[in-house]
């Protein structure tokens, strides 16, 4: 095809920058990327045809600096900017500034971002369009009576920032006596993270599943769904394992939830890639949660079972092309599961960890895809989100995918920084996960999964043996001191 642009700038970092650059380059286009000095050694910078430095008071601030990024796009001669996820991807002002600069924004229109990015407006729109939403109270409707109205929503309830996302500032309240205090905390967090302290509360559905649907629209009014993803395994409201198809859906329910999502997207003439998220109750009822107006972290599982390169379609839509398929052309085959590899210590409450990447060995085998944003020699710092890579495993069915995943997590080696790999493997092998019976409270209900397993004595001895032989002062003693002294543990001589 004839592209209206020959260079695409990726305004992101880490694994998603690498993933977008690969498709850009495979399409015969040039891929440019912006980077902060902290990412100078990253694989995205190495892969890009051109890498343009940006600066900021903090590393994150650099990637949020719209003016610098647009200037970098001009410098690289980029005719399109792909924002990835996070950072500026759901910032309507950025999308508007990009288009005002005569550059195509790879995403929805600024108006669509504004509507769907404001959870309160989005919810009102969805309800008005006739789609299901959960019982709620919205502060903006009448701020003076918000606390009173919140009290009327059946408890337990969930407080959310109106401008929020990613679980930030969300609080579950079970005791009405705690309501006002929790509202104040959520407001403070919302203010700090989003510069917006407005809130809303909704009924908290116990042990729900999180099911979302990939949608894709073009600038010519066509909208399709690309099936669902189940993302119920979450810690602190953040997804860590995602899969498709969802084990909870039969074909009729799948059709219903996917068509609902496509209907919501169609109701606003949605353009480019988006995800409609639902909360799915144990009884099969589902309610609209929110729409993410961007490519999702977990998009690869959809790609694995449909054979569709979502970034390629995004770029075509941004180039003004119609969608390359109709709904009936989209099929799926097999089962795919994504595991998010985080630099964190599961045993101490999933606290982030830092350290150098001394060794990274991807697993080998059929049906494996590792989208990694790090490489050996890089350092994992506290400056960014602790997600390092995504392991995506595909099999003919769910049990084959699980088997392959177990071997892949066993063989994936990352040394120098503590990760959640062992924890992910314990979750995978839990009977409830194997049976496909998980919900968003699954990890809270099974804290033993996060705890460090006991180290068998035989393993501990072998670890100590290897470590001793790798440690200079110990080896020096062994190589120079007769056996008897070493056995006494004497360093005095």
């Amino acid at each position: 095809m004839n592209w209206p642009f020959d260079t695409v700038l990726v305004a992101n970092r880490g694994e998603i920058a690498v993933r977008i650059l690969r498709t850009v380059q495979a399409l015969g286009l040039k891929g440019a990327v912006v980077y902060h000095a902290a990412d100078a050694k990253s694989p995205a910078v190495a892969l890009a045809d051109e890498a343009l430095p940006i600066t900021g008071e903090t590393p994150v601030a650099a990637y949020l600096d719209a003016a610098q990024i647009i200037a970098a796009a001009r410098q690289a001669g980029a005719g399109a900017i792909h924002p990835g996820y996070g950072f500026l991807s759901e910032n309507a002002d950025f999308a508007r500034a990009v288009e005002a600069a005569g550059i195509a924004f790879v995403g929805p229109t600024p108006e669509q971002i504004e509507l769907m990015g404001d959870k309160v407006r989005a919810r009102a729109h969805v309800e008005k369009a006739g789609f299901p939403v959960a019982p709620s109270a919205i502060e903006d409707d009448d701020p003076a009576s918000f606390v009173e109205r919140a009290r009327q929503v059946p408890f337990p309830i969930l407080i959310k920032p109106a401008a929020g996302g990613g679980g930030k500032g969300m609080r579950v309240v079970r005791d009405p006596a705690q309501l006002e205090q929790e509202i104040e905390r959520a407001r403070s967090e919302g203010q700090r993270y989003f510069g917006d302290g407005r809130l809303y509360v909704e009924r908290y559905i116990e042990n729900p599943r999180h099911i979302e649907v990939q949608v894709m629209g073009d600038a010519h009014g066509q909208v399709v769904h690309v099936f669902e993803r189940e993302c119920s395994v979450q810690r602190r409201f953040q997804k860590i394992i995602e899969e498709t198809p969802s084990p909870a859906l039969d074909p009729a329910l799948r059709e219903k939830i996917c068509e609902t999502a496509a209907g919501i997207a169609r109701s606003i003439g949605y353009r480019n890639a988006g995800t409609v998220e639902f909360i799915f109750g144990q009884g099969g009822e589902f309610y609209f949660l929110e729409t993410n107006t961007r490519l999702q972290v977990e998009h690869p599982v959809t790609e694995q079972i449909t054979g569709i390169d979502l970034v390629e379609v995004q770029l075509k839509v941004a180039a003004g092309e119609p969608l390359p398929f109709r709904q009936e052309d989209i099929g799926k085959r097999g089962h795919a599961i994504e595991f998010r590899i985080y630099a964190e210590d599961a045993a101490s409450g999933f606290t982030p960890t830092t350290g150098p990447v001394l060794m990274l060995r991807p697993p080998q085998g059929e049906g494996l895809r590792l989208d990694a944003g790090i490489r050996e020699g890089q350092t994992v710092s506290a400056a960014f989100d602790p997600m390092l890579a995504k392991l995506v495993v595909t099999g003919a069915d769910r049990s084959e995918a699980c088997e392959r995943a177990d071997a892949a997590l066993r063989d994936l080696v990352l040394l120098g920084c503590q990760t959640n790999i062992g924890f992910l493997r314990r979750v995978l092998n839990h009977p409830a996960f194997a049976a496909g019976e998980v919900h968003t409270g699954f990890l809270d209900a099974h804290p033993e999964l996060a705890a460090d397993p006991d180290l068998p004595a035989a393993t501990r001895e072998r670890l100590l043996a290897a470590a001793a032989a790798m440690t200079r002062p110990l080896r020096d003693i062994a190589d120079t001191v007769p056996d008897l002294h070493a056995a006494m543990g004497s360093w005095r001589n």
């Binding site: 903090t58 990613g166 679980g167 930030k168 967090e189 700090r192 993270y193 602190r236 101490s348 409450g349 999933f350 606290t351 982030p352 960890t353 830092t354 150098p356 001394l358 060794m359 060995r361 710092s381 506290a382 400056a383 066993r410 080696v413 040394l415 120098g416 503590q418 990760t419 790999i421 062992g422 493997r425 460090d452 180290l455 035989a458 393993t459 501990r460 001895e461 072998r462 670890l463 100590l464 043996a465 290897a466 470590a467 001793a468 032989a469 790798m470 440690t471 002062p473 110990l474 003693i477 062994a478 190589d479 001191v481 007769p482 056996d483 070493a486 056995a487 006494m488 543990g489 360093w491």
Partner: protein, 167 residues
């Protein structure tokens, strides 16, 4: 005092000597012979008794990272002299360290300020949550190491209090 390795929070004193064709590990009364050789795929092969393990190992200063049986472990080497020195150190509540990596949101105090036990010293952000750090005791702020917005690693010193004068 022997050399030791720390695995998580447990300390294991070890000694190492030569054996006929490799090394001998000494763990208290117990000892075991082993050989550690370079493998073909960049791994290390550990022969220990009747077992053979393929390990991935990386050393970073005193940290030895080992991948074995599908799990990764970090063993921190503790030199015998260092262990001896630490015995004499008294742990005080004079230094506020970061329990996890994060960034500083706001400071409630400056160097020289008198604080009461329980008073807010600073607010930090980690794991996308705010945490308030309060004074562990009455005292005077000796030093503040960070400015709002700055990020820090686990165990970084955030703030210190003037030591309590010995009575």
């Amino acid at each position: 005092m022997q050399h030791a390795f720390k695995i998580k929070d447990s300390e294991h004193a070890v000694g190492l000597s030569r054996s006929e064709d490799g090394y001998r590990l000494h763990l208290g009364e117990r000892s075991l012979n082993f050989r550690l050789q370079a493998g073909e795929a960049g791994d290390l092969v550990l022969h220990c008794g009747n077992t053979v393990d393929h390990l991935r190992v990386a050393v970073d200063g005193d940290d030895v990272w080992i991948h074995i049986d599908g799990e990764t472990h970090c063993l921190r080497f503790e030199h015998a002299l260092q262990r001896l020195a630490e015995l004499n150190e008294t742990a005080g509540a004079d230094v506020i360290k970061a329990a996890m990596p994060g960034s500083l949101v706001s400071l409630g105090v400056a160097a020289g300020d008198s604080v009461r036990k329980g008073q807010t010293l600073l607010v930090m952000e980690s794991m996308k949550m705010e945490t308030t750090i309060v004074a562990p005791r009455d005292g005077v702020v000796a030093e503040v190491r960070l400015e709002p917005g700055q990020t820090f690693d686990k165990d970084a010193v955030l703030l210190s209090l003037e030591p309590v004068a010995a009575e």
